[in-house]
């Protein structure tokens, strides 16, 4: 399998606190990597480093053959290949659902407004919000906002999608609709995905790989079903005891 993301000895510090210690990781095209771990273990920092929202302190990051920090001038190219979905949705509050989605294609991919709107409508349909194109974010529920945010990230046509706890800010009854959209992306398009989540059901159903992070290190890395059903280490067992594994 072709490698699309590679981290070699990556460290990340905030001030004097090192939150990622010597991470070595390589992710192949089409992988659906689920990242779990206790709070403060560096999961979010790890994926924020992948699309350069955080610049790594040392080591090397290679995304689609672009090397960071060697080619810092090409950060935007990295981001065009790596879409991101945030815990807090972060939709642009002054733009409608359609405008939020077509913004990236128009401005980052330089598509015409007509082309961008067409892409945006297709994506809105895909996330089940075909009739919501003129709604402002504040007129949508949390689940709907997150689905628009997923469509927005897909709209720039990235090779990799990162999800930073996409369902953690949602009411329980809305988690399912967002997970369904994510499952469809994983199954239909063969998209490479890195998902930070506590939804172990998602991990075992669509994950091709599970990373368990602890104290800034990748403590375990393996097949999701096996790790969840038959955890080897005490720390993983302990962690799984605290999350819902269905």
């Amino acid at each position: 399998m072709k490698r699309i993301i590679e981290l070699n000895n990556v460290c990340k510090s905030f001030g004097h606190t090192e939150v990622l210690h010597n991470i070595n990781l390589s992710i192949g095209q089409g992988d659906v990597v689920v990242v779990v771990g206790p709070s403060g273990s560096g999961k979010s920092t790890l994926i924020r480093c992948i699309n350069c929202l955080e610049v790594i302190t040392s080591g090397e990051l290679i995304v689609d053959a672009i090397k960071i920090p060697e080619e810092m001038g090409r950060i935007r190219e990295v981001r065009l290949e790596v879409g991101m979905v945030f815990q807090q949705f972060n939709l642009f509050p002054h733009m409608t659902a359609l405008e939020n989605i077509s913004f990236g294609p128009r401005k980052a991919r330089k598509l015409s407004t007509a082309e961008a709107n067409e892409t945006a409508r297709e994506l809105l349909d895909k996330v089940g919000l075909a009739n919501f194109e003129d709604k402002l974010p504040r007129e949508l529920s949390g689940g709907q906002q997150q689905r628009v945010a997923i469509a927005r990230a897909l709209a720039i046509n990235p090779k990799v999608m990162l999800f930073d706890e996409p369902t953690s800010a949602l009411d329980p009854e809305m988690i399912g609709e967002v997970l369904d959209v994510m499952k469809n992306i994983a199954k239909d398009s063969g998209m490479t995905m890195v998902v930070v989540t506590h939804e172990m059901g998602f991990a075992s159903q669509v994950g091709s790989r599970l990373l368990f992070m602890d104290e800034g290190r990748i403590a375990e890395d393996g097949d999701p079903k096996e790790m969840i059903n038959n955890p080897q280490s005490k720390r993983l067992k302990n962690f799984l005891g605290h999350v819902n594994t269905n």
Binding site: N51, C52, L53, V55, P69, M72, G73, I75, R76, E77, R79, L80, V82, G83, M84, F86, Q88, N90, L91, F92, P93, H94, F103, G104, K107, A108, L136, A149, R152, A153, I156
Partner: protein, 240 residues
């Protein structure tokens, strides 16, 4: 006390001519002040994550220099009275040019000095308004834009700008009104604006009550117009 309305009527043409000049100084000065304020306000946070920056290489010293220059400007202007700034520009600056460059007849006329003073003075305060508004924007929105590969310039014009502008309107209203009233200080460098006109008429007819009442009301009308225009903008923008 006899309040004679015809005194005001007689004085009105001169007062309105003064009011016209007050408008001119205010509007041109504030237009320039907005430009300076936006530049200095963004300059003070150049190279920071609030603007989605990830400075590297040459950009690190460059943005640092920008921040220092902008901060120095804001602190210098906020820390000195506007009347001193006007006096300095009108009297001291030409002397400095003469001493420094040997230009003999360099002069700034009073009206230009007044406009530039408002520009520089309002710019410093507007810079802080701009900076505050940009800093108030949820960082997640900037990150969302960055994560899509949007250029920093587009991020500024299409995301940060519109949201920040909406939040800037109330404090901008304050600053616009303050600047309009500050033009009355230019009486000291001899600009024939509204206050000066009032002063001159008063000096010839000694009708202080009528003249200063009229002057006050004209200022009130002008500041109300400014407030109304800003309110109009505020209502028209999508609420964020």
């Amino acid at each position: 006390m006899d309040f004679q309305v015809n005194i005001i009527i007689d004085a009105l043409p001169a007062l309105l001519a003064g009011a016209k000049l007050t408008w001119y100084i205010t509007l041109v000065g504030l237009a320039g002040g907005m430009a300076m304020g936006i530049a200095a306000g963004l300059g003070r946070i150049a190279g920071t994550q609030s603007l989605g920056a990830m400075p590297h290489g040459i950009f690190i010293p460059l943005t640092t220099a920008l921040r220092y220059i902008s901060s120095a400007y804001v602190e210098l202007i906020r820390g000195t009275p506007i009347i001193v700034q006007a006096m300095f520009l009108y009297f001291a600056f030409p002397m400095l040019v003469k001493a420094g460059f040997g230009v003999e007849r360099f002069r700034i006329d009073a009206l230009t000095a007044a406009v530039i003073t408002i520009m520089i003075n309002a710019g410093a305060y507007i810079a802080e308004i701009v900076r505050g508004a940009v800093l108030s924007i949820n960082r997640g929105l900037v990150e969302a834009g960055m994560s899509m590969g949007i250029s920093r310039f587009t991020l500024l014009t299409d995301v940060i700008g519109p949201i920040a502008f909406r939040r800037m309107i109330p404090p901008l209203g304050n600053q616009f009104i303050i600047s309009l009233k500050d033009t009355s200080l230019f009486i000291i460098i001899g600009v024939g604006e509204l206050t000066r006109q009032g002063q001159e008429i008063m000096a010839s007819n000694f009708r202080a009550i009528e003249i200063w009442s009229a002057v006050a009301i004209i200022y009130l009308i002008m500041t109300s117009v400014l407030a109304y225009v800003l309110k109009f903008f505020e209502k028209r923008m999508k609420i964020l």
